[in-house]
Subunit: 203 residues, 2 copies
């Protein structure tokens, strides 16, 4: 049953360079939910203050407004979008499938983002060397993802939130030092990425 709230357009505050904003943008896209995007650069001088004004107590992005509801944290925003709006379901139908999806999402949060994005991509993009040992860690993360990835989408026959999470990082991963040897060591991921380009946000 639709409630009147469904007619209120959700508003996402964030920055298109931000992995976590990208994940939310992809989720809206996969769900085909109309939304408004408000650019909020947290690296600008007034960015953290603007993020606090928009409802994030730690001055970060992304932030979602929907009617009276203000939400921060991507875990909360993406599941809310999937839960609250019509459109294709973005979580697997069975408990084991959902568990795999949550495992993927947690690996992105705890390994892909800190090791492959901040540990390898960011130093490379700034002409700095990564900390010793980071390249080995990055390769271990890619190997774990390669083991888990399904032959079509990451968690089965249709895209889920796990695909949105990993897709949002892929440009950075491929451009990281570990990403250089990805094509030869992670054929499933490379095959998945051909398909998952479609999930990249348009905003």
């Amino acid at each position: 049953m639709k409630s009147p709230g469904d007619r209120v357009i959700p508003v996402l505050y964030g920055a298109s360079y931000s992995v976590y904003t990208r994940i939310c943008l992809s989720t809206f896209g996969m769900k085909a939910v109309p939304f408004r995007f408000e650019a909020l650069d947290v690296f600008a001088g007034d960015g953290p203050a603007r993020a606090r004004l928009a409802g994030h107590p730690f001055g970060k992005i992304p932030i979602l407004h929907h009617g009276d509801l203000t939400l921060y944290e991507t875990l909360a925003i993406t599941r809310y979008i999937d839960d609250r709006f019509e459109g294709p379901p973005l979580q697997p139908d069975d408990a084991a499938g959902r568990a795999r999806m949550n495992q993927f999402i947690s690996i992105v949060d705890t390994q892909v983002y800190p090791v492959l994005v901040w540990g390898l991509y960011v130093p490379k993009s700034e002409g700095r060397k990564p900390k010793p040992g980071t390249l080995g860690k990055g390769r271990a993360v890619l190997a774990a993802l390669e083991t888990l990835a399904g032959p079509e989408w990451l968690c089965g026959a249709r895209p889920t939130l796990a695909d949105a999470y990993l897709a949002a990082c892929m440009d950075y991963i491929i451009d990281s030092a570990a990403g250089n040897d990805m094509a030869s060591n992670a054929p499933r991921l490379m095959n998945w990425w051909q398909r998952a380009q479609a999930l990249k946000p348009k905003a």
Copy 2:
């Protein structure tokens, strides 16, 4: 409908000092699901190797075995326990409630654990000073939790996974430098904690 798999006892590998192991133990307790606990100390010399053998590619804990399924990452394990077994539901019934729960969980992962546990409790327990600015951050995290906490349980009239996450950190939070002034600045959380002591794992 129950499948034969429901009769297989799940096995959790972890250490009782570990916040994330505690979260999984509390989840089993709240759900009243029988399980077996296998102590695995990742700080022991062979800990990471044993964790890899048990199925965690990064040599960490906790890890869940259930029949043929091996799962790592607490996000995946706790939701799987809630999803897969009978017992009281550990997630709110409505989309906004579930969103609040996910927001709490993410705040524990991204703020409570790094700032209050590792940033304040661990240095204090080792007689070291925390990094400059950490105490202020810790207070901001407590203030955000105090704002979000419900009058009974964190997300409504019954405990959810959010309560398991925060309860697993509370002894460390109270013993952290920011925890010292918690009783006066976070009355809702202190009231909640009286109730939530019951969620502390028995293992």
